[in-house]
């Protein structure tokens, strides 16, 4: 790792659950077998495909179809996001344009790699982007999103890395009546830090960032999102689920800020944790900072175990215990994953979650 790199320390509130040791260790991992076949990581759907191996674009296995690949400087004041400079990808759509199912696969073999990305949608443009992370080492990403008036972006991201660390920083500006929905699924064996700063910058904007983190062994995953309502009549949803087994830790911090004139804001934060073992940890931190007075912000944060009544009900109908636990856990996770609009993508994500459950339960 770059000797000059200064990682955030846990003394900073926003990083107190972070596992920067795991990130360091991942960065120092010598190259090895990623244990993943890139071709198998693309979902079987039409649309542009981009493969990055260790942060390098692989044209031979890609068909970028209008998605531009070029080096650029990232301008971010986020400590990890700021590192993501160099070769990256940019999706630019003109007003009214539509581009469905852009798939980006990131495979790492070890060490560290940094890739910046930009998604810039013109007025009423629509796009859907699906990202998959696999392999090992430290993959660090910055994704800057600009949605013009009425634009719509569906972003689905799954973290399948076997080991190592994935850090993702999203920064988004959502203009009037535009809509951003981002769903993350962390089911690999890696550590993770998913960071989001979303600004609802125009009246009636819609912002959603959520997902599910599933941890086991000694693994730590976390998400930290700030949703900023800067204009009136915005709607935001932060729906996160954490499932932790063994001695692992899953942490969710979701913050909603509503500025003084952002009246008629409708915000929802739903953070729920499920402990599969008593030795596991789920940290939840819902935060509201509201300066407007005409605001509706629902928030809930609960951690629990599987409902014993429900378990017995399922078992009494003939389901073996592990199956019953699996079904209930899957339903718990589905709350967050069901936000993915496209059925094929949603089903693929649910299958990844089911595969995790098959191994963890």
């Amino acid at each position: 790792m770059s000797a000059t790199l200064e990682l955030p320390t846990r003394r900073r509130e926003a990083w107190r659950w972070s596992d920067m040791d795991a990130l360091q260790a991942a960065a120092n991992m010598p190259a090895g077998d990623p244990g993943a076949d890139p071709a198998a990581l693309f979902l079987d759907i039409e649309g542009p495909r981009l493969l990055f191996v260790d942060g390098m674009f692989e044209p031979a296995h890609s068909r970028p179809d209008g998605v531009a690949v070029s080096p650029f400087e990232a301008a971010s004041d986020h400590p990890l996001g700021a590192l993501a400079s160099g070769e990256g990808w940019t999706l630019t759509l003109e007003n009214g344009a539509a581009r469905g199912d852009i798939q980006i696969v990131h495979v790492s073999t070890g060490g560290e790699n940094h890739v910046p990305a930009r998604i810039l949608l013109g007025e009423d443009a629509t796009a859907s982007v699906i990202e998959t992370y696999a392999g090992r080492g430290w993959a660090n990403r910055l994704c800057q999103i600009g949605l013009k008036r009425g634009a719509r972006l569906m972003r689905s991201v799954r973290l399948l890395q076997r080991e190592g660390f994935v850090s993702i920083r999203d920064e988004a500006d959502v203009a009037e009546a535009a809509s951003l929905v981002s769903v993350f699924l962390g089911v690999g064996g890696m550590g993770s830090r998913i960071d989001g700063a979303i600004t609802l910058a125009g009246p009636g904007a819609y912002g959603e960032m959520g997902g599910a983190l599933l941890t086991r062994g000694e693994q730590r995953q976390e998400a930290a999102v700030v949703m900023r309502h800067a204009q009136p009549e915005g709607t935001s949803r932060q729906i996160w689920r954490a499932v932790a087994a063994d001695r692992s830790t899953a942490s969710l911090a979701a913050r909603a800020e509503v500025v003084r004139h952002a009246q008629k804001t409708d915000g929802e934060q739903s953070l729920r944790g499920l402990l599969l073992d008593r030795t596991a940890t789920v940290n939840l931190k819902p935060e509201l900072e509201i300066f407007a007075d005409d605001v509706q912000c629902a928030h809930g944060a609960t951690v629990g175990e599987l409902d014993k009544q429900a378990l017995f009900y399922l078992e009494s109908r003939g389901l073996p215990e592990t199956r019953a636990r699996g079904l209930l856990t899957r339903a718990f996770v589905a709350d967050a994953i069901d936000r993915i609009g496209e059925e094929t993508v949603r089903e693929a994500f649910l299958e990844d979650a089911a595969a995790w459950l098959g191994e963890a339960l």
Partner: protein, 247 residues
């Protein structure tokens, strides 16, 4: 079919069943009545194998096997069905998904071929129709937002789909309006009234027994069967209450 001998069971160290004996022959329907807190639901849970219900003494034989040795799902596969007094709401899992998994798990455990999605749907629709349950409710999450009566109907639909040999129905009649009571009563007769099936009906009211004629009626009080008789016993209890039986 079911033979319970001197059954003692406790929850959290507190003895609830205190030497309960009961035998239900194949082809018979028995009713259990008894005051609140007597241990009727506890009996159902113990027979179903619920965690935390510890059997300290006695035995239960089901179709010649030691029932208490089996895990809950094995009991279900062996043909036992427990109709819940308070059916559980399960968000995020649809009725069809749940029941198809349940039925196919049972079939696999019995070395029978699982049903395809289409075969299962046909079966589920037929059972929902027979019980007067709207088709849409099959797609809804298990019992979520169902009224008390709808939950009980759903229990009967499940029983129709799973086609058990032996059903313990815990107050399936409570909370039902007159039409629903008739639908549920007819359902029990249609699904379970057969020479190779038996039922244990837990109820507080004679009115269900007007639809489903029991062969025998038992009074459970303070963790034991304290009296047994024919259908006339239910009428007597309805007239006179449990009185000194429960004392």
């Amino acid at each position: 079919m079911l033979k319970i001998e001197n059954l003692h069971a406790e929850i959290d160290g507190k003895e609830i069943l205190k030497g309960l004996s009961l035998e239900v022959a194949t082809g018979e329907i028995h009713a259990i009545m008894g005051p609140n807190g007597a241990g009727k639901s506890t009996l159902g849970y113990v027979l179903g194998g619920r965690d935390g219900y510890e059997v300290t003494q006695g035995s239960v034989t089901f179709d010649g096997q030691d029932l208490l040795e089996l895990a809950p799902y094995e009991r279900a596969a062996a043909g036992l069905f427990l109709g819940f007094q308070y059916p559980v709401e399960i968000p995020g899992i649809s009725n069809v998904q749940f029941l198809r998994e349940a039925l196919n798990s049972q079939r696999r455990a019995r070395d029978e071929a699982p049903l395809s999605g289409a075969e299962f749907l046909k079966l589920a629709r037929a059972q929902a129709d027979a019980l007067g349950m709207h088709q849409d409710m099959l797609k809804r999450p298990v019992n979520v937002g169902f009224s008390g009566g709808e939950k009980k109907r759903n229990e009967m639909v499940q029983m129709g789909i799973l086609a058990p040999k032996f059903a313990i129905l815990d107050e399936t009649d409570s909370g039902l309006d007159i039409d629903a009571l008739k639908a549920v009563g007819d359902g029990i007769n249609r699904i379970m009234r057969a020479p190779d099936k038996s039922v244990l009906l837990i109820t507080h009211y004679q009115r269900l027994l007007d639809y489903v004629q029991p062969d025998k009626v038992h009074v459970l009080a303070d963790g034991r069967i304290v009296r047994s008789g024919g259908p006339e016993l239910a009428q007597e209890l309805e007239r006179e209450g449990y009185g000194e039986l429960a004392a």
